[in-house]
Symmetry: C2
Subunit: 291 residues, 2 copies
């Protein structure tokens, strides 16, 4: 089946009723076209076109072959169109791996809006804290907080979110309110995973401090919950703890300082993405930045 392309060329020649005309239409030198049709005829073992220097006519075999080829080429065009529709008209199942708390707090309203915008898309979300294996698992996209370690993957930045320090009033009453970053060394600092340093800025200065904690956690929600239970100080994105701030369960610590901003990324295994994924990422990039 090495002559599929030549079939398309043959169709063009028949349509144009001329080698040169077809060559111009395709944008190919007529010499190549002539050679290709000849090669096709040789492969098939019989002549498709009666050539005169002045005009060409189909042989009986050519007539039959043309009918077939036309259908094939039309089919191919259809396939192409259908696929480019997939590229432009987002539809299908969007499988995404999302971080639990960030998604619940920040992305939920955006996803609702996006779902309204593209009724053709069905969503299959896996909310998990682990860094899923995009190569082996059939996710279209993964949203992650922080930098991706695997260089094979394509990461697109979505938003950079500032973080601040929070603790419960009761904790601060008990353990004392830190006045400067260095004071944190004497506090229970609840970080994600095994983070052992926190970087703080106050607009002009940056300081890096070692933190200690009795907890190693991979859940933002759990960290916040522990904070509301007076277990320590957390460095957290604003919206995550908004409710707890409003209700007084938590309050800002070292309000002149802010933590290192965390970046949210959309990660994919390839750049060749269907429209649903492309639009999803684009939508998040446009709307997450304003949060």
């Amino acid at each position: 089946m090495k002559f599929l392309n030549d079939m398309a060329l043959f169709v063009e020649v028949v349509k144009a009723k001329s080698f040169r005309g077809a060559a111009d239409a395709i944008g190919m030198p007529n010499s190549t076209l002539s050679r290709r049709i000849s090669a096709l005829e040789k492969t098939l073992g019989l002549r498709l076109l009666h050539r005169t220097t002045r005009k060409i006519t189909l042989t009986e075999a050519g007539q039959i072959y043309y009918e077939r080829c036309k259908r094939i080429v039309d089919e191919a065009k259809l396939a192409q169109e259908q696929l480019s529709e997939m590229l432009t008209q987002p539809s299908g199942v969007l499988r995404a791996s999302l971080p639990v708390d960030f998604t619940v707090t920040y992305m939920a309203p955006l996803i609702a809006e996006f779902a309204k915008l593209y009724p053709g898309i069905v969503f299959d979300f896996d909310l998990t804290s682990r860094w899923v294996d995009l190569v082996n698992e059939p996710f279209d996209v993964a949203i992650r907080i922080g930098k991706p370690e695997n260089s094979q993957l394509i990461a697109r930045p979505l938003a950079v979110l500032p973080t601040y320090l929070y603790a419960s009033p009761r904790y601060l009453d008990r353990s004392g309110e830190p006045a400067k970053p260095a004071d944190l060394a004497n506090h229970e600092c609840l970080g994600i995973m095994k983070a052992d340093t926190w970087t703080l800025h106050n607009g002009t200065n940056t300081t890096k401090i070692s933190i200690g904690s009795r907890f190693t956690l991979n859940s933002v929600g759990m960290i916040c919950r522990l904070a509301t239970l007076d277990m320590g100080i957390i460095m957290m994105m604003e919206k995550i703890v908004a409710d707890d701030i409003a209700s007084g369960r938590l309050r800002r610590v070292l309000p002149q300082w802010r933590g290192a901003p965390v970046s949210a990324c959309a990660i994919t295994a390839t750049r060749l993405l269907p429209a649903k994924t492309q639009h999803f990422i684009k939508f998040l990039q446009e709307h997450l930045g304003k949060v």
Copy 2:
């Protein structure tokens, strides 16, 4: 439409569920296959296959594209089969240009037999003495007596037919019976077209004599008719004058001598012939030799 071939390759990969397997099946290095599929994906703008080093799975787009491609490839195979059927199962219209008298006398019975052998073939014969232009006229084959002058055409020898000299008894009574070839110089020698020499053999010797005639003709039948009307001596194939010999209208002249044998050829514009033409020529070659 430059990716038709790649579509076929893609189908093979999906069918084999493996690059290597497909490559082996096609007989192509897997490196090429890998590159070609990648190129196809790049052209389409989205990924068709999820690759793991261990197995490959179709993406949503790939699934859709595969369905289409499979149909296209199947269509192409069908077209190929239909055409190869034309190559093996003779059918359709066989358009042939034939010399009038040779066909009526020598070929008629063979054609009848051939027609019985291949019921699928319909015949469109143009009996004419002119050397038709095979390039411009849609003849599948032309049968000609003598050597073809155009080197572009493909000539296949069919038969070599001996010729003898004949005249009517009354002509011989009137003009005298030639005893040796040289005597022909004093006779009315009716040749085809403007033949001005006849070559004669008697088994051991060959002699070439100039002939003169008041007639320039392009019809064998007419020459024979003139001969029966006592107009001169003709050099003719045996069967053409069989009836005239049997009825005594003509009789052999210089019976030790025979004329230069004439060869019948099948002439085609190309070697890429459909089965009907191939079989026709083969049949004539096999049966005309025995006449």
